[in-house]
């Protein structure tokens, strides 16, 4: 038994990659459905016509305003300071886009009662939830890509161009962090009210971003039962911290190698798939026609 545990621990990155690959294949297979794609494109169009651009404009203003000031705070490491701030802003605004879009898409379909007509068509709950998830992921991708491109262009115009090689993989990780967050919000939207979903998702995101802090807390705990519960909670809660590497890559001796990247991406895709799967199940059991649920 201990041998098996040891093997699992040692092979964990490879297991995460394999699980992620399997779930990615499931997503791709599910996306082959024309109906899921139609819903995803409609979701994307709705979000693009609503608010995403405002977030990006806001991001640009804040970034331009803050980056110059930050570079003066750390003489000698100006480039790293600006890159860290940029990645922080990409993560923050990406998180806002993911949370507000993912908690809205299903809610607005139900509140606007467009779901009634949707249900009169040959669509399964699977098409609706997967379509909504993919639509929001596309929005998150567009916004993170635009912000990432903005950052790269900014650095290309400065003497700190060499940092681009770190910025790009860091932005990729942020995107996959947000894929996981999107899955969590979509799952929440199948059984929670919108406000509760927003608040809970944000709380879980911040708690999940402090995984190592909570692991330290567990070590200090005296009561074994509490230790057990917190450990179980941390095992279920997505480790968002793994995807936020801006502090480690610039100020610690940490390299973003392929194994780390792929295992993190695998973990993200696997957890997102599990959460979307649960969302499909919950949504199938829900009665959308009653006012109470809305």
């Amino acid at each position: 038994m201990s041998g098996l545990i040891k093997f699992l621990k040692e092979s964990w990155p490879q297991i995460q990659m394999a699980l992620g690959g399997l779930c990615l294949a499931l997503f791709v297979a599910g996306s082959a459905s024309k109906r899921a794609i139609a819903i995803a494109l409609n979701t994307m169009r709705e979000e693009l016509r609503k608010k995403i651009l405002y977030f990006l404009i806001l991001f640009a203003i804040i970034f331009i305003g803050v980056s110059g000031a930050v570079s003066k705070v750390q003489p000698g490491r100006e480039g790293e300071a600006v890159a860290q701030t940029g990645l922080f802003v990409v993560g923050l605004f990406g998180m806002l886009v993911a949370v507000f879009s993912a908690t809205t898409v299903l809610f607005s379909e139900i509140r606007g009662r467009t779901i009634f007509i949707l249900f009169s068509h040959p669509v399964w709950s699977f098409h609706i939830i997967l379509g909504k998830f993919l639509g929001v992921v596309a929005i998150v991708f567009i916004s993170v890509a635009l912000m990432g491109v903005g950052l790269v262009v900014y650095f290309a115009l400065t003497p700190w161009f060499g940092l681009v090689g770190i910025i790009i993989p860091a932005v990729v990780l942020i995107f996959f962090q947000l894929v996981m967050l999107t899955g969590m919000c979509i799952l929440g939207s199948t059984f929670l009210s919108r406000i509760t979903n927003i608040l809970l998702s944000m709380v879980l995101f911040f708690v999940g971003s402090g995984h190592s802090f909570f692991r330290d807390v567990i070590e200090m705990m005296k009561v074994p039962v509490m230790k057990y519960y917190v450990k179980a909670f941390l095992a279920i809660l997505p480790n968002f911290e793994k995807f936020s590497v801006r502090g480690k890559v610039f100020y610690e001796d940490f390299s973003l190698d392929a194994t780390y990247m792929l295992s993190a991406i695998g973990d993200s895709v696997f957890r997102a798939a599990v959460m979307v799967g649960l969302g499909i199940l919950f949504f199938r059991l829900k009665e959308v026609g009653t006012e109470r649920w809305e």
Binding site: G112, R113, F116, L118, H121, V288
Partner: protein, 286 residues
């Protein structure tokens, strides 16, 4: 009634409960209905009688508390039947960020229509509902009547065997209402089954074959319009160009035969018919 049964309910009951499971309204109470192929069937009743609940149950949007529904012999939760069912809800719930073209394109995609068929059918149905001119305008800018037409257009685009219309003429002007009624009659001519709910009695009388009257969740009466509205002990004679003398003799004959003459006079046109005729004449003048 002969014919294939398209929709059948067995002791259909729907109870709305509070979060804590306490009953707060019994929306439907052991309702047994049969709707036959090719007929226009109306659910009549005041607000809160259970019309919309019945429709949501037979679309699989809600689940029965007790009893069951069959649509084409299957559960309405069975997605395979949905390709044969079209639904226009009470309010035309539209994606406000899309225009008419995009809305219909989206529904066409959900039906699995290929691009060429989709384009052709969208052009046809927009023409039928008279929205070709405004097809590129966002639906949030549409009037209530236009929104209803888009609702009807997505039903027509699907070309289903069963059409469910929730209050189809509500909020429309008399001409819009007439158009919707004409489209409904055309659907019947093409062999479609139509279930509609309404509390506009004249509309129902105009186009429906059979009626179910609901009251506070109970099914009170179901029969054909003919049977329900015919007054068995009264007779009506309609004649043109009667002279005064002839009318006097008719009156005498009826009285001699022991009949109780209620009225002899000129028949009246319905207000709807008068309105439509006047508008049409005005348009011809222009």
């Amino acid at each position: 009634m002969d014919g294939n049964v398209v929709v059948r309910t067995y002791d259909l009951t729907k109870v709305y409960r509070t979060f804590w499971g306490k009953t707060y309204v019994r929306a439907l109470n052991k309702v047994n209905l049969e709707v036959y192929e090719g007929e226009i069937f109306a659910l009549l009743g005041p607000n809160g009688s259970g019309k919309t609940t019945t429709m949501k149950l037979l679309l699989g949007i809600m689940f029965p508390t007790d009893g069951r529904v069959e649509v084409f012999g299957k559960s309405p939760r069975d997605v395979t039947i949905k390709k044969d069912v079209g639904f226009m809800p009470e309010e035309s719930y539209l994606y406000r960020f899309l225009n008419a073209d995009e809305t219909l394109n989206f529904y066409g995609n959900l039906m699995g229509l290929d691009r060429k068929t989709r384009r052709k059918r969208i052009d046809e149905v927009l023409e039928t509902v008279g929205l070709t001119e405004v097809r590129k305008r966002r639906t949030r800018e549409y009037s209530k009547g236009m929104a209803r037409r888009i609702g009807m257009a997505q039903v027509l685009l699907k070309d289903p065997k069963l059409v469910v219309l929730d209050e189809p003429t509500i909020g429309l002007d008399p001409m819009g209402a007439r158009e919707i009624k004409d489209v409904t009659l055309k659907l019947k001519e093409r062999g479609k089954t139509v279930i509609l709910s309404s509390h506009l009695l004249a509309d129902v009388q105009d186009i429906c074959d059979r009626i179910a009257i609901l009251h506070r969740g109970d099914l009170i009466k179901t029969d054909s319009v003919e049977n329900l509205l015919t007054i068995e002990d009264t007779w009506e004679i309609v004649a043109k160009n009667l002279k005064d003398e002839t009318r006097r003799r008719v009156r005498e004959v009826i009285q001699e035969g022991g009949g109780d003459l209620q009225r002899i006079g000129h028949p009246r046109e319905s207000l709807e018919s008068l309105f439509l005729k006047t508008i049409k004449e005005k348009e011809v003048e222009k």
